[in-house]
């Protein structure tokens, strides 16, 4: 018993060392998925519990971060089904209306940029967060969200355009200078 307890402790230590370092990264994405701090904390907690239960299936040396994200999205989607909530539909049409490539405004504050990100439809917001903030590769994002890599690229492209368009509007109203 003592031996097995020691082994459990070693396994848990190894899990905590490797996985808990990603807690903040997961939390940032969970915040956008749940749009509520408490729910996001619960989602991250449930993700780590699920990950711990499946840790024996995780292959060492493979991408732990992407694996954790994937578990989190699965937990989130299954919670949504359980709560009978509707997924926010993809607002592809918003991006389609963007006929021009907006310039990138300068001198905006971090809060203003974050506020613009929060206004984005979730299908654009999550890939941008994963790519530009958490620095996942396009391939990793495609794996985590279970969508083709082409869709990831198009959502990033359109999402960034919408983000810049919003920021341009905001910058003009605030009287900031635009780069072009």
């Amino acid at each position: 018993m003592i031996r097995s307890k020691e082994l459990d402790q070693q396994k848990l230590d190894s899990f905590e060392t490797q996985a808990l370092g990603y807690a903040d990264q997961l939390y940032r994405v969970a915040l956008r998925l749940c749009r509520n701090r408490e729910k996001a904390e619960d989602l991250v907690q449930e993700t780590f519990l699920q990950a711990w239960r499946s840790f024996h299936r995780f292959e060492l040396g493979t991408n732990l971060r992407a694996w954790l994200y994937k578990i989190m999205f699965n937990v989130h989607y299954s919670n949504q089904r359980r709560d009978r909530l509707q997924l926010i539909p993809t607002e592809e049409t918003i991006a389609e209306t963007l006929a021009y490539d907006p310039p990138t405004p300068q001198h905006l504050t971090e809060e203003e940029i974050l506020a613009a990100l929060e206004k984005l439809p979730r299908d654009f917001q999550i890939p941008i967060l994963l790519a530009d903030v958490e620095e996942l590769s396009y391939r990793e994002i495609a794996d985590v969200l279970e969508i083709p890599i082409g869709t990831v690229m198009s959502r990033l492209h359109r999402g960034r355009k919408i983000l810049r368009t919003d920021l341009v509007k905001y910058a003009r109203e605030a009287g900031y200078k635009l780069s072009s």
Partner: protein, 310 residues
């Protein structure tokens, strides 16, 4: 590469998603185009500002502590070990739909067998213990007890020990009345070879003493067959294994062994006092039906704990 292409590819460039060739073309273009250079700087600034803003959002320390606590609880609970190790078919097999009827059949069979055993042979004698059991017990004393000989922190028997055998729970408390003059070093469940023991490790001066409890089965008896034991308690059986002295007593379902490096007469004397409360306690439990067992056992342990607190 023209300015339009450059802007199209700029975000992928910043994400390091472009091929080496395209990266060179981007850099070449930026070198000669101030507008595109400015656009790259703006987008990079925007990206950095977004990262800085997002990085302020961290999981609170309270949430992190709660999560660690939950993970710890999950890791050391029985449910967790079943969930982590059991494959899907095993989980299905242990679903209530299958488990309830199977359990009912087992309970009925167990009651039938216990009634049969009681009526068929109430006065039969205890069979001598097998060499295998004595060797395993002596080996456990040598391998396991020596680890705890100098232990300064006493490890008490955890309540979770009952998952191995219901009689294991609170065994250190039960044995306390017979262990005067002995210092408890550890109480745990161990399985050094093929046999599981509840193991109480004591010291008296420089002497190391083990009290072991294990299941009474065919392999533990010399005859190789599990002969029923009478309702009266079996006498103390004395033997040696190398330099170790062993005293053993049997109940209908368990064997209690006291092992030490004391001379045999001294060990015999010690075994009588040390094993007595344990043997009485276990045979009381052995006689209880499965239905009454849980409640009764909980009451016994709770009353001992209360006495201990006083």
């Amino acid at each position: 590469m023209d300015c339009r292409n450059y802007k199209e590819l700029l975000d992928s460039y910043l994400c390091q998603e472009l091929a080496v060739e395209t990266n060179h073309q981007m850099l070449n273009h930026a070198e000669y185009c101030p507008k595109c250079r400015a656009e790259m700087a703006s987008r990079r600034n925007m990206r950095d500002a977004l990262r800085r803003a997002c990085f302020k959002e961290c999981l609170s320390q309270t949430a992190l502590d709660r999560m660690r606590a939950q993970l710890h609880a999950e890791a050391f609970s029985l449910e967790s070990s079943q969930k982590t190790n059991a494959p899907n078919w095993l989980e299905k097999l242990f679903s209530p739909r299958i488990l309830v009827p199977v359990f009912s059949v087992i309970v009925v069979l167990a009651i039938g067998i216990s009634v049969y055993l009681k009526t068929s042979s109430s006065q039969s004698k205890a069979s001598p213990l097998s060499e295998l059991l004595l060797t395993e017990a002596a080996s456990d004393h040598q391998k396991c007890a020596t680890h705890f000989a100098l232990s300064t922190e006493v490890a008490f028997m955890p309540d979770s020990a009952e998952k191995y055998d219901e009689v294991y729970r609170g065994l250190d408390l039960v044995a306390k009345s017979g262990a005067s003059g002995l210092t408890l070093r550890s109480a745990h469940v161990c399985k050094p070879d093929n046999r599981q023991f509840a193991h109480l490790v004591y010291t008296r001066g420089k002497n190391l003493i083990s009290l072991l409890v294990t299941k009474r089965d065919g392999k533990s008896l010399q005859t190789g067959e599990l002969t029923p034991l009478g309702t009266e308690l079996a006498e103390l059986e004395e033997s040696t294994n190398g330099a170790l002295s062993i005293g053993a007593r049997q109940t209908s379902k368990h064997i209690v062994l006291v092992i030490s490096d004391l001379p045999q007469p001294e060990n015999e004397k010690l075994a009588k006092t040390l094993a007595l409360p344990v043997v009485e306690h276990i045979s009381r439990i052995d006689r209880l039906t499965a239905h009454a067992l849980n409640l009764k056992h909980q009451n016994i342990i709770a009353s001992m704990r209360r006495r201990e607190m006083k």
